[in-house]
């Protein structure tokens, strides 16, 4: 395992070292000490490596991640795993706003809570939040799955497209064009797969979730729907 101490190494040097790694690298396990809330830590990765960040990270941790598995043993700031394409990002603590924003693929797991706009404009990523999420989450969410074991704040799924949202707790309110939908067998399968991937045990039943998605009434503008915006 390669250990990088950010008390003595710059973020730039860390990220540069990671960016030169290829799919054939044998430097596959990294540990980052003393992150001290720095921004853009391990952003722009594109190699099948494992990284553990031993502390809190700032904005855009693991931004645009591809292939890598990143675990943050702490909290993260705004935009963790923003625009992730593939791989896995696991936050052991809480996440600030816009977690997983616009991400196209991969899996984002947040053990604690996520603040406002979790999954905003998500484009295919799977997000599992074991705590609760803040308001305006899944705003304009296009594809992928958002799983929330706790509660969801106001205006969940506002102007949502094809993302599926599963919430186990209470939803304060739904946004424009977001409705509750039937949980069909295929949704149980998808949800179980995501819970398993996030390390959530069988004691959490898929039957305890409700599903939300797009009513598809605002896909084409009609003046009679103007009041919905």
């Amino acid at each position: 395992m390669i250990c990088v101490d950010l008390a003595t190494t710059t973020k730039r040097d860390l990220n540069q070292s990671l960016h030169v790694l290829t799919a054939e690298t044998n430097e596959t396990h990294w540990q980052v000490l003393n992150p001290q809330g720095q921004h853009a830590l391990v952003a722009g990765l594109d190699a099948p490596i494992t990284i553990e960040i031993m502390g809190h990270a700032g904005y855009y941790c693991a931004g645009m991640n591809q292939q890598a598995a990143v675990t943050v043993h702490g909290n993260v700031g705004v935009g963790v795993a923003e625009n992730m394409m593939s791989g896995r990002v696991h936050v052991k603590g809480d996440a600030s706003q816009s977690a997983g924003a616009t991400a196209h693929g991969g899996l984002l797991v947040i053990d604690g809570d996520a603040s406002a706009r979790c999954g905003i404009s998500m484009k295919g990523v799977d997000i599992v939040v074991k705590g609760s999420i803040g308001p305006m989450s899944a705003f304009m969410a296009q594809a992928g799955n958002l799983v929330v074991l706790g509660d969801a704040g106001e205006a969940l799924g506002d102007s949502i497209y094809e993302t599926r949202i599963f919430v186990r707790g209470q939803v304060k309110s739904l946004g424009a064009d977001c409705i509750e939908k039937e949980m069909r067998p295929e949704h149980h399968v998808t949800l179980r797969r995501l819970l398993d991937a996030a390390g959530v045990g069988e004691d959490v039943s898929v039957d305890s979730f409700r599903r939300y998605g797009s009513a598809r009434q605002l896909y084409n503008f009609h003046v009679d729907n103007a009041a919905a915006y």
């Binding site: 594109d46 904005y59 855009y60 706003q97 706009r117 484009k123």
Partner: protein, 443 residues
Amino acid sequence: MDISQIPQTLPRYSATFDPHTLSEIRRAAATGIYDIRGGGTKRQLPHFDDLLFLGASMSRYPLEGYREKCATDVWLGTRFAKKPIHLKIPITIAGMSFGSLSAQAKEALGRGATIAGTSTTTGDGGMTPEERGQSQTLVYQYLPSRYGMNPNDIRKADAIEIVIGQGAKPGGGGMLLGQKISDRVAGMRTLPMGIDQRSACRHPDWTGPDDLEIKIDELREITDWEKPIYVKVGATRPYYDVALAVKSGADVVVLDGMQGGTAATQEVFIEHVGIPILAAIRPAVQALQDLGMHRKVQLIVSGGIRTGADVAKALALGADAVSIGTAALVALGDNDPALEAEYRDLGTTAGAYDDWQEGRDPAGITTQDPVLAARLDPVAAGRRLANYLAVLTLEAQTIARACGKSHLHNLEPEDLVALTIEAAAMARVPLAGTSWVPGVTGL
């Protein structure tokens, strides 16, 4: 008196309720929805035409038009980027999306820009292989929607342009109506085919200049500090917006006036939000000068650039480069009078066609209809664009030499006067024949 013998006054249209206004009221009453169109503002505005150059005479030496060199190159991104861009001419191609434009049009823009030695720019919806393949220098737009946003494409780009706004609709998001959401466009944007695509007006993961500084840092980290980072704003509060862009760490600021075009938005937005580029350049330059960043953070201005004179005037006011969009489309073949019969079928006329959102462009440019798009030969259209860019450059050089300048960047406000008080005030140059700069000097 015979009433029939009384001279009659001619019918008189109201200046307030003119025929166009009346037609819009009737259209609104019939449909219940606002008018959507493409392009930029069509109203009369103070513009570069209201400025004139003071050629050399007793107090200035001109340069020989066909013998003495007048350089035109420009460096962009010299502040922080390891690999700044060097262009042969200070005229770039503005961001226009695949989706709003056909793949053939995007390819033609890349071909024309490459021949001319300048850059072209992606748009909402991501980068196409045709565009990258034909563009020697390609700027990748980073937009609020992040449609098609892909780190692999970021790495392929030569610069990144963070779009905060555009001149046609500062404060507004994108719009691409369902008829232009083809399979390919829908796939690139991760959207269902045929829906009305609405792009967000705000970025999803940052708010305000303090956050933008962190976002720029992330993009620099992802690209290993190699690529210039542009910040594009619609012209509204240029002094503060430019100052904040500099504070946020931009290498280049792109300032788009209200004459700048859009693929589609509400007519009321296009005509009533934002300010003309003439009014925006000097405050922007002032901000750069106050921060000691003029020529260190480059300024690209756009919105209504049509001629080499416009280019020269923009540079004289302090810009480092200009960007063209509408004029580039016209050079490709947009609104060509040769297609008049087909424009008539669409209820318009060549030169006025602006329903780009409908995707029925007979020129094959603002469409996703494969039959229409196939009408545009990207090689020939690219050549026309290159010719046009060459003319713009030659015209700007002609003026610069007449003012005694060996580089277009040596043009300065002191080379200009204004024909109107409004233009003098906006451009902060004297009213012609006087020493009066309204708002700056006394009578």
